[in-house]
Symmetry: C2
Subunit: 354 residues, 2 copies
């Protein structure tokens, strides 16, 4: 394929082979993203035999997309430990392009565990941060909030949670444009004594630190939709449980409505009046529009698209990555963390425990 | 107040002072429950000065409700450790009536932590069971499922989880009438290696035990609404997070629909056609109809009503308690557990760890 690449300097590397319907969905998604973001250039990693024919269908990608061959790929069932050092996979090569400075962000719809493990190995965690986290932007009743960690760290100690609070605060200011984000810890009660030891310790740390965060205490999951906080902090297990419970219930309610309408003659008559309203609600809740979980805490931007998403969803993940690159997010988070004395967190733990 | 009590022998003791709008909501709830269950007699514990005037408004309670004075009450903000040994509260006295054999179940809308702590102290945990659990029956797409623990035990080990699986299995057979309930552990992935150590250990234990449970492995929260399992087992922290995420999202979707309809002229025109469908969905999801979390694993039945529920919700909690009494649930669970060799669970742990 003849390559006449544009000289855009916003470059995103893409794993063409990740996700349930790759490489087609990935390439279609890039085509949508390219129309919306004429300033992006893509470096696409994948099996050229499979990718080239599909890529040729999208003429708008010709000038902005460079295809590089990768002989292998990461599969959904692969364990991170199996694939972490295999430099021949499309995922590894796409991440490595960020390390080399060829791209400013990587997007993959592949295996989350592998993407996090390789991103950590290749891009390295920001100095002072112990653990990177998976972050997503989600809808509440009258706006958006950020939740982290969504599954990178099954178990977290208080320091990890306090660091997530700090990174979430920075992200909310830059990605949501909230000047003083309200940061809360996810818990099963509002009272100080509630929940797990590490959550209580983290609350104590954040309050007593010099992190200058607007910390509002604990939030319970059922309050989140009311928009009571802009940043919700949890360990990866709890965050993942809350996220998936939310997704499942939203789908259940919508499906129940559909089933009930189908089985009612009267409702079918009224449907034309309601279509606008239903589409509006569906659009607000549409998981594709919130696709693209960001890995924060790394020296480079890694964005995970949902594996089962469609082209629109994949394009949203690419848009998210591009927006954070334009805001120079990785440098910002590194600079802001540089200014904070995170050692005082560990000292808090020592005071607490002994 | 003159008492001409019926000689019904299904007796439920009730904490008149628990919950946000007590004693009115409690008494109204009892009146609804009494109409539905003419075989129940109630022993009501509370401040007679406050309770009597309201009780007098409900003539149908006269013959089936005995009021006993309790000088004190448990408040929402009380810590369990503060109230656990105070025998003068309406909550303590209501629970103690079950221990004495005067009632077969107790219902309270008061402080969950206190209700669990006093229930454990007074009724005692069933021999062989290490920790009682809070259980609720909830709706999925085409039926109901049982989830436990919903908050009694913030941290659980593998043995606790395996015991919850056993108790959930027995409850699903008796309360849901499912002959061979599918029991699953709540986790953040379906693969064997996923999640926390105690969950993996519990899976191993249940599979290798002689508990004769239809164990289907791990379930992720977003799959629950599809009805993939009849019993979902989690530690109390995780179960509580999943439950509250579900509640919050269901309310968010319904509220978004309402707001969207209000702001659309066309939708308002169509509303009359849709009302039936919306009421049907609302009714299926109505949290009041799933009110009444049961404490299982105790030598006596303790049922917790939501503190903020209304009279209908409270009556549902009473109905739940009555149904389990009719099914002789506490004796059944004790007998079934007697038959199971739970010691083998601990031995599994020993094999696993060393």
């Amino acid at each position: 394929m003849e390559q006449v690449l544009s000289d855009n300097n916003l470059v995103i590397s893409v794993d063409a082979m990740g996700g349930d319907n790759s490489p087609r969905v990935v390439i279609e998604g890039l085509s949508i993203a390219a129309k919306k973001n004429p300033d992006i250039r893509f470096i696409l990693f994948g099996d050229t035999a499979k990718v080239t024919p599909i890529l040729n269908e999208f003429s708008n990608l010709k000038k902005v997309c460079e295809l590089r061959h990768s002989p292998e790929m990461v599969h959904n069932e692969d364990k991170p430990s199996q694939v972490i050092r295999n430099r021949n996979t499309s995922m590894y090569m796409a991440i490595d392009a960020v390390r080399k400075g060829e791209a400013q962000a990587v997007v993959s719809a592949g295996n989350t565990g592998a993407l996090m493990a390789i991103s950590k190995l290749v891009l390295k965690t920001i100095t002072k941060i112990h653990r990177p986290a998976i972050v997503s932007i989600m809808p509440h009743r009258n706006g958006k909030y950020i939740m982290l960690d969504l599954g990178a760290n099954t178990e977290c100690n208080a320091i990890n949670l306090a660091e997530f609070a700090l990174m979430g605060d920075i992200l909310a200011r830059h990605a949501l444009g909230i000047s003083k984000p309200r940061v809360a810890l996810l818990n099963i009660g509002a009272e100080e004594m509630k929940g797990k030891e590490e959550i209580r310790q983290a609350a104590h740390m954040i309050k007593n630190s010099h992190m200058n965060i607007e910390f509002t205490g604990y939030v319970e999951p059922h309050e989140i939709p009311n928009g009571v906080a802009d940043v919700i902090v949890a360990d990866g297990f709890t965050g993942n449980i809350a996220l998936k419970s939310t997704e499942g219930t939203a789908r259940l309610v919508v499906r129940m409505l559909k089933d009930a309408i189908k089985s009612s003659f009267l409702a079918k008559l009224g449907l034309p009046f309601m279509l606008g309203v239903m589409l509006k609600v569906k659009k607000t809740m549409d998981p594709r529009l919130y696709n693209g979980a960001m890995f924060v805490g790394l020296n480079g931007l890694s964005v995970k698209s949902h594996g089962g998403t469609d082209a629109l969803g994949f394009s949203v993940a690419v848009n998210n990555a591009a927006n954070l690159v334009r805001q120079n997010f990785v440098a910002t988070i590194r600079e802001e963390i540089e200014k904070v004395d995170l050692d005082e967190l560990s000292q808090e733990v020592i005071y607490e425990v002994y």
